[in-house]
């Protein structure tokens, strides 16, 4: 990796101004950033360390739950209030990487991590996302790529946390020259909008927290992540499901998929299939099928359509506490 200057700001204001440099990058846990630097994908002149800023690693709950961007995945997975009120979030945090990675990796870092697409990760390949003129996955080895929302770039978003947080209507807080807050669902952008990056962050902005609203606390939920390799792998397809039940009837719900689209993919079709209906294995199966409505697989990833439908089905059965077949 190239030599860089290490910046340790005392507060957010200092961090934001350090980011206005020519090519500065934020470091939280550093797992993804260091990978990118070692591979030569990014060559920042300044690395801005957020660990010295007070408060970013706090989890505070009064009515809602505010999770600082530097809270680690382990802390999130082990938090009693997250496990009891927002179960799918704890499950998602626990599904990431390995224990060592979860001990260091942060909530903010997990949401802002770059894609795992093997064309993107190969520094020698000038793909669309790196300023080139085409997506190499389109007519290449695309078995791990998007079946929904793809084009002109076909990455899948790698975050496990994002679908689970979105399924609870999470909001994300951002600090730049001013502060802003938006639904986490709107934080992510499709390649059709901007293929250069996966979210709306400006170069001098930092994710500072994620808030889970009280309104969804205590909803039944589950995050199911299907990996090709059970030990330490990315999602081939995953689903976060939240349900507000009245007896056996689904009053309200969210269905958000991971690993199948360039952004965490909220499926309104699956939600419509569930709302107002009596939960059952048959309904779970139907909602799973609805979740892949409009899927446009590439040459080698048609299998993901069946897989994603079943992953949603499994997540629903788990959230509802029904026996899996």
């Amino acid at each position: 990796m190239n030599a860089f200057e290490w910046v340790t700001p005392k507060d957010l204001k200092g961090a934001v101004s350090a980011l206005s440099g020519d090519s500065a990058k934020v470091l939280a846990g550093g797992i993804d950033l260091l990978c990118e630097m070692k591979e030569g994908l990014v060559t920042p002149s300044h690395v801005v360390n957020l660990k010295s800023i007070a408060g970013l690693n706090q989890m505070v709950g009064r009515d809602d739950l505010r999770i600082g961007a530097l809270v680690t995945l382990t802390e999130l997975a082990e938090s009693e209030s997250v496990r009891s009120q927002y179960k799918a979030v704890a499950e998602a945090a626990l599904s990431v990487g390995s224990p060592q990675i979860r001990n260091v990796g942060t909530v903010g870092g997990n949401l802002c991590q770059r894609p795992r697409c093997w064309y993107y990760r190969d520094v020698a390949i000038e793909c669309l996302k790196k300023g080139g003129d085409r997506c190499f996955a389109e007519d290449g080895e695309n078995e791990y790529h998007a079946i929904l929302g793809g084009g002109p770039c076909h990455i899948v978003h790698p975050s496990d946390l994002a679908p689970a947080l979105i399924a609870f209507d999470a909001k994300v807080e951002i600090q730049g020259t001013s502060a802003r807050s938006l639904p986490l669902l709107d934080f992510f952008v499709l390649p059709a909008v901007n293929w250069g990056q996966e979210n709306v962050l400006a170069p001098n902005e930092i994710v500072t927290a994620v808030t889970l609203p009280k309104a969804t606390a205590g909803w039944k939920s589950a995050y199911y992540k299907f990996r090709e390799r059970e030990s330490f792998d990315w999602a081939l397809a995953s689903a976060a499901v939240t349900l507000r039940m009245s007896g056996n009837t689904v009053q309200d719900c969210r269905v958000v998929l991971g690993g199948v689209a360039p952004i965490p993919w909220r499926s309104k079709e699956a939600e419509s299939a569930l709302k107002g209906k009596t939960i059952s294995p048959a309904l779970a199966e139907a909602a799973g099928k609805a979740a892949v409505t409009g899927a446009k697989p590439l040459k080698h990833n048609g299998y993901k359509v069946r897989l994603a439908a079943n992953v949603v089905r499994i997540a629903l059965l788990r959230a509802a506490g029904l026996e899996e077949a």
Binding site: G140, R229, H300, R306, V311, A325
Partner: protein
């Protein structure tokens, strides 16, 4: 003519003995090549070709030479060199820190003329330049197929797999003058590397010393001097300082060898009684750019008519290297599935068909394994458990040599302080060499194993061969045994004077030398040693062919569970019945078998080198997307040591052979889906389900 000890009476040999170097390894004190630090040592790094096929036009190193910390730049591929694969060595740098070396690599300006490439075997096989077409099937084979009671036809494949040693290839070279150097390296052959490097550097063989105390895996990819060894020696010479050059993970995966793929279009027929009538196959695979490829097909089972044609396919990929039982697991996985399909086509139990085509040890192993595994509980109909999770059983077999050979020279010294040194220039590939060396000697001299120091991994010790072909234990143990018996003879001669009884009446155990018929007449080992001269007792040992035997059979049974919703295959149990001859150490023998099965599971379910035809680049030269199995992939693995004789044999390679075939067959039995192309990933099972609809 010697014999091994009676295992019902031994304390060490053949028992479960923990590795003598275990404490060093778990405490981090064991010195691997990575751990070598020398005064003024520099760090080397290699620039690899970004292209799969290119000619070097020019290399400009002037900027790199001026970079901070850079002490030497070495051009490997000068102008005019044809580069055959991504990652091929182009140039190298030695600098004060590893970071400086890597920065300097980026400052080397190379002009390439890019040439057309082919990196995917199936694509290259369509290209007449890279493979000749297959001739038509012989009349004899056609006739035999028509006459068979059941026939099957299918295309099968096993992808290129990479050794993925956890310790990457590399070395440290220190020149001790103009024509003499010492090198620390990760190798399976300290003596072979010494000879190869002496020749390569043009210095007398005796002027080179090669040291490898411990290594982190080789699997066949570290049998000779790797290209990085010569590069490192050149850098060290140029920089006039020791250089450490360890490959990074990317170039490790791209350049240090791989296990070739195997593709086979097979037509086979069997008779009603299960006898294999005919196997006809067109086979091809790639070993990289060389035109050498072949596999032992059909594997183990013989058909009356065999019409098998093999074609090497040239691709712009890194060269192969022997990978644990080279080409056997591939041949086995394909053959076992063919045989399995024939059994189902005949409506016959797959095990029955195998019994109809085997005899001797293997047949006994099949019968014993079936009993231990509960084969009779199996539902004869594949895919018959309805529902989401379906279980199935499958079976596979292996054949290997594993005998020893001459050449090893052991020097054993008993010192006056009752400590013992055993020196020999072999190396420990991971099998626990030191432990059986010390066990053999401690057993024969009746001392505690801690008194014996097994010294290996140094070319300054007596010759021993490369650790390949599962031959090390069967070559080394007999030579150690010879030395051990000679030392025991000399010890008893000395003790005989002291206890006043003839040497042939003596025995040794628990630190005492005593009279066999009257153990009260004894003297301590330490006391005998204290009366020795300054030289102590010196005994030399060489190979004794009567102590070893090659030719080992094995069978494995696997049970898996297939999730019909996701395509996940979960291995549940693997029973590995392997002919081990007379094992030196039950613990490490079982661990060797378990390790083989684990690697076989990787081959069955996960591992595949992925190449991109458009760019010519490897897409997964890493540990992230080149997927090795982890703890969650582990079934219950039961090694069963099958004893056929009292001679030592090798067991390193056999256990990796049958696993993938057994698992592939179990997947079919569970799901009713035949996945003929490994690895059996969720994708392939889901695609098979999509096709069935």
């Amino acid at each position: 003519m010697s014999e091994w000890n009676d295992r019902s009476k031994t304390k060490y040999v053949g028992q479960r003995v923990t590795r003598v170097e275990g404490p060093l390894k778990v405490s981090g004190r064991a010195k691997y090549t990575y751990d070598i630090q020398l005064p003024d040592m520099l760090y080397g790094a290699i620039l690899g070709s970004p292209h799969a096929a290119a000619q070097v036009k020019s290399v400009d190193i002037s900027e790199a030479e001026r970079m901070p910390g850079v002490k030497a730049v070495h051009v490997v591929a000068g102008p005019g060199t044809n580069l055959r694969h991504q990652g091929q060595d182009v140039a190298a740098v030695a600098a004060t820190t590893e970071q400086q070396a890597r920065d300097a690599l980026r400052a080397i300006r190379v002009e390439y003329e890019v040439r057309p490439h082919r990196v995917i075997t199936q694509v290259a096989s369509q290209d007449p330049e890279r493979m000749e077409p297959f001739p038509a099937l012989s009349d004899e084979a056609q006739t035999a197929l028509r006459a068979a009671d059941a026939t099957i036809e299918g295309s099968y494949s096993v992808p290129v797999r990479i050794h993925t040693c956890l310790e990457t290839h590399g070395c440290v070279v220190r020149w001790d003058g103009d024509d003499r150097f010492t090198m620390w390296c990760s190798t399976q052959a300290v003596h072979g590397v010494r000879g190869g490097m002496a020749q390569n550097q043009g210095v007398p063989a005796g002027n080179v010393r090669v040291i490898c105390e411990h290594m982190g895996g080789g699997f066949g990819s570290k049998l000779g001097p790797g290209s990085e060894f010569a590069v490192c020696a050149a850098l060290a010479k140029k920089a006039k300082a020791p250089v450490k050059l360890m490959r990074d993970r990317h170039t490790e995966q791209l350049t240090t060898g791989n296990g070739p793929d195997a593709h086979a279009r097979v037509r086979a027929g069997a008779r009603k009684d299960g006898k294999l009538a005919v196997i006809a196959a067109d086979c091809f695979g790639t070993s990289g750019y060389s035109a050498q490829w072949g596999m032992p097909f059909p594997y183990v089972y013989r058909a009356e008519t065999r019409a098998v044609r093999s074609r090497p396919v040239r691709t712009n990929c890194g060269s192969d290297a022997p990978l644990r039982a080279p080409m056997h697991p591939q041949a086995c996985a394909i053959t076992e599935q063919v045989v399995d399909e024939l059994a189902y086509a005949l409506g016959m139990d797959p095990l029955e068909l195998r019994l109809a085509n085997t005899d001797g040890v293997r047949k006994q192993q099949f019968e014993l394994g079936a009993k231990l595994f509960g084969w009779e509980k199996r539902n004869p109909k594949p895919g018959s458990d309805g529902g989401r999770f379906r279980r199935g059983m499958g079976v596979g077999t292996s054949a290997w040599g594993g005998g020893g050979g001459p050449g090893s020279r052991v020097e054993l010294t008993i010192h006056r302080d009752a400590t013992i040194e055993v020196k020999l220039g072999t190396q420990d590939l991971g099998t626990g060499t030191r432990t059986y060396v010390a066990s053999i000697v401690a057993e024969d001299l009746g001392v505690d194993i801690s008194q014996v120091r097994a010294m290996i991994g140094d070319s300054d010790f007596g010759y021993s061969g490369a650790s390949g072909g599962s031959t090390t234990t069967a070559s080394v143990a007999p030579a150690v045994k010879t030395a051990s018996l000679e030392a025991r003879r000399q010890l008893f001669e000395k003790a005989a004077e002291m206890v006043g009884q003839p040497a042939e009446e003596l025995d040794a155990r628990d630190g005492k030398v005593f009279v066999s018929s009257d153990p009260s007449k004894s003297i301590t080992f330490a006391e005998v040693c204290s009366r020795l001269g300054v030289a102590g007792i010196v005994a030399n040992g060489t190979f004794d062919a009567s102590l070893q035997q090659g030719g080992v059979a094995g069978v494995q049974f696997a049970e898996v569970e297939v999730d019909m919703w996701t395509g996940r295959v979960r291995p549940i149990r693997v029973l590995a019945v392997h002919d081990c001859g007379y094992w030196m150490n039950r613990l490490t023998t079982e661990s060797q078998i378990i390790g083989g099965v684990i690697q076989g599971i990787g081959m069955a379910l996960l591992e595949e080198r992925k190449m991109d035809e458009n760019t010519g680049r490897c897409l997964n030269p890493d540990l992230e997307q080149y997927k090795l199995p982890g703890p969650w992939e582990m079934p219950e693995i039961v090694p069963h040591l099958f004893e056929t004789h009292q001679k030592v044999a090798g067991i390193g390679e056999p256990p990796v052979i049958p696993t993938a075939g057994a698992i592939a067959n179990a997947v079919f039995h569970a799901s009713g889906l035949r996945i003929r192309h490994l690895p059996i990933t969720p994708r392939k099972l889901l695609e098979a389900m999509d096709e069935r609809v």
